[in-house]
């Protein structure tokens, strides 16, 4: 460093200059720490990938398992019976069924509430709805599971006798309640980010509020809304406690929401709760299931990211 050395204009008390070497050493240490933090987050992802793939590979090497049987099999019975079957589709089916029920309720309801909050609702009404959503968002999932078990399931069984004691619909509805605040608040953020001028332009052309909300604002916020939907789906796919409590524990390849299913997360909980010996095929199978689950959520996250980046409208 070359010195810039004009005299300070006004003579102020100058004290002693602080040591630059000391500062540089201290700052290097802090920077190393900060970079360490960033490295930690990458290390976490890498560790997840390594653990899941190593243990899943160990699972596929076992005699009674084949990779092809895993990804194409339609029967999953790792615990019972003389012959074990490891076909993952019944578990995936359970996950998708619960997710489908949940999204069929949460996405439209959440989007409508979001549009209403952002385009119609008066501040006073917002002041009621927003805290309700915040409280809903803060409720632990085990509470929703309990709610599904003790309120939704009896309710469904009262409506229609075909529902089982454990069923996909009940778990799905509870997941819907859980996802509702996520969809609503993220979609509302996207809608509110649409500039006022766009709305004013449409109103200036004689559009009604409905037309402005549905034909102008919603399309303009579409990328944010889609990203919110994808995030909600990812949360529903990965939801554990609700399905562990309310969906049941018998994997079956069915599309009937009244019947008992076992989603992937439910199976993992069952294994780690100690129903299986620690080193058998069924124990390692949970890693293969976890890897499948991780791939699904990773895919959803990446698609959501792409949508946000690719189709984002930038407003000044």
């Amino acid at each position: 460093m070359t010195a810039i050395n004009p005299q300070p204009a006004v003579s102020l008390p100058r004290g002693r200059p602080k040591s630059k070497i000391l500062r540089r050493v201290r700052e290097s240490c802090i920077m190393a720490g900060l970079i360490g933090c960033g490295v930690f987050s990458i290390a976490t992802t890498l560790t997840i990938i390594v653990i899941l793939s190593v243990e899943a590979l160990r699972f596929f090497r076992l005699d009674e398992v084949s990779f092809w049987g895993f990804i194409s099999g339609t029967k999953w019975s790792p615990l019972l019976g003389a012959e074990k079957h490891f076909g993952v589709w019944p578990l995936i089916c359970g996950t998708l069924l619960v997710t489908a029920v949940a999204m069929a309720v949460a996405l439209p309801l959440g989007l409508i509430t979001a549009i209403w909050l952002s385009e119609y609702a008066k501040p006073k009404v917002r002041a009621v709805i927003k805290p309700v959503l915040e409280v809903l968002a803060g409720i632990p999932t085990v509470v929703f599971g309990f709610f599904a078990l003790t309120v939704i399931t009896p309710g469904l069984r009262w409506l229609h006798e075909g529902f089982g004691v454990y069923n996909a619909a009940s778990a799905g509805l509870a997941v819907a309640v859980m996802c509702l605040p996520i969809v609503t608040s993220l979609a509302e953020d996207a809608l509110r980010a649409v500039p006022r001028s766009l709305r004013e332009g449409a109103f200036g052309l004689g559009a009604t509020r409905f037309e402005v909300a549905v034909k102008v604002v919603t399309p303009a916020a579409l990328s944010g809304i889609v990203a919110a939907f994808l995030l909600a789906i990812a949360r529903a796919v990965g939801e554990t406690m609700i399905v562990a409590l309310a969906a049941g524990a018998s994997p079956s390849l069915t599309l009937d929401p009244r019947s008992e299913v076992q989603p992937m997360t439910g199976y993992m909980v069952q294994i780690f709760l100690g129903d299986a010996s620690n080193y058998g095929a069924e124990y390692y199978s949970s890693y293969a299931v976890a890897a499948t689950l991780f791939l699904m959520t990773l895919l959803l996250t990446l698609i959501g990211h792409r949508v946000r980046v690719r189709y984002r409208q930038v407003y000044e």
């Binding site: 700052e27 960033g38 992802t45 119609y120 309990f146 003790t150 009604t208 709760l273 959520t297």
Partner: protein
């Protein structure tokens, strides 16, 4: 008169009819949200009010529902959340500072920066049960390279000492807390990033123009200005940690524990686990105890959320 007036009024009213219909649908949707919350709270209160007393708060769980208590689970939750907070807050805020305040100009570094950012987004989407498996392998067993939890390669003190440590950690408080840390870390990072982003750039420029280095700028101006936002986000993340059950379930399992943990390696149970245990039993009477436990849990969470809201409002200027 003119063309505007010549439009048939029915077309207009049709369009406005749609508008009114939509408002009705919206009201219905919003009403449904409130109704669901109402039913949920009402059902839990009616089921749980009977067992909600000091006996529940001060006693260990029992085989008899009327004698069951939640004390060890409460203490367990406090311990793992303390471990979680102590580890997650510095790591999370540090990562947020790195990502927000040290955006590199160089191309390769900028790409790396974008990759770390995407990685955080991805981590936020990983199901918590997967973090449970990660914690199981990385903390409980330490990748099986350090012996087994029952036969540790390294110990500090004996299980009688309060400072007892061992490697691998085993299914103890430390492993549970660190696993929770993994779950809430992305939440803390993202909310801290948002808080830092909300600090006006003029403050940063002001500090730099006085000859502050980047770190002095962060420490002297940006971070203090972002503290309320970071605190709000952190409190919300911690309330998530308190209610999180799935990863803890994998680490600790559902065990019948009547004592409180004495050191970081000790077995533990947590409130969501205890509630899950009660809720998954067939007996109706245990469901009532579960509801009482939920009321305690929700009371704690509401306190946390209220604190977050108060901080947000106090500094919202």
């Amino acid at each position: 008169m003119n063309e505007l007036a010549s439009h048939p009024p029915s077309a207009r009213s049709g369009r406005f009819l749609k508008d009114h219909l939509f408002v009705a649908v919206c009201l219905l949707a919003a009403g449904l949200c409130i109704a669901v919350l109402g039913v949920l709270l009402a059902s839990i209160i009616t089921q749980g009010i009977e067992h909600l007393d000091t006996h529940l708060l001060m006693n260990p769980p029992s085989r008899k529902p009327e004698k069951a208590g939640i004390y060890p689970a409460m203490i367990g939750t406090i311990y793992i959340c303390l471990v979680c907070a102590v580890s997650a807050i510095p790591l999370g805020v540090g990562t947020a500072i790195l990502l927000e305040e040290f955006k590199p100009r160089q191309k390769t570094l900028a790409r790396l920066h974008g990759f770390v950012q995407l990685n955080i987004t991805n981590l936020a989407g990983v199901p918590s049960v997967v973090y449970g498996i990660l914690g199981m392998t990385a903390f409980v067993e330490v990748f099986k390279v350090m012996g087994s939890p029952g036969d540790p390669v390294w110990t500090l003190g004996t299980p009688e000492n309060w400072y007892y440590l061992q490697l691998p950690f085993g299914r103890g408080v430390l492993a549970g807390g660190l696993t929770l840390m993994l779950v809430v870390l992305p939440i803390i990072i993202i909310s801290s990033q948002e808080a830092l982003r909300a600090v006006p750039n003029s403050l940063r420029q002001g500090a730099l123009a006085l000859g502050a280095t980047r770190l002095q700028m962060v420490w002297g101006t940006t971070l203090p200005a972002a503290v309320p936002g970071i605190m709000t986000g952190t409190i919300l993340a911690m309330s998530r940690a308190i209610g999180e059950a799935a990863p803890i379930l994998i680490i600790a399992g559902v065990v019948y524990i009547t004592f409180t943990p004495e050191h970081l390696m000790d077995d533990f149970t947590a409130m969501p686990l205890q509630i899950y245990d009660w809720a998954s039993r067939p007996q109706e009477s245990f469901h009532q105890v579960a509801a009482s436990g939920i009321m305690v849990l929700m009371a704690i969470l509401l306190t946390f959320n209220a604190a977050a809201v108060m901080i947000r409002q106090k500094f919202q200027r």
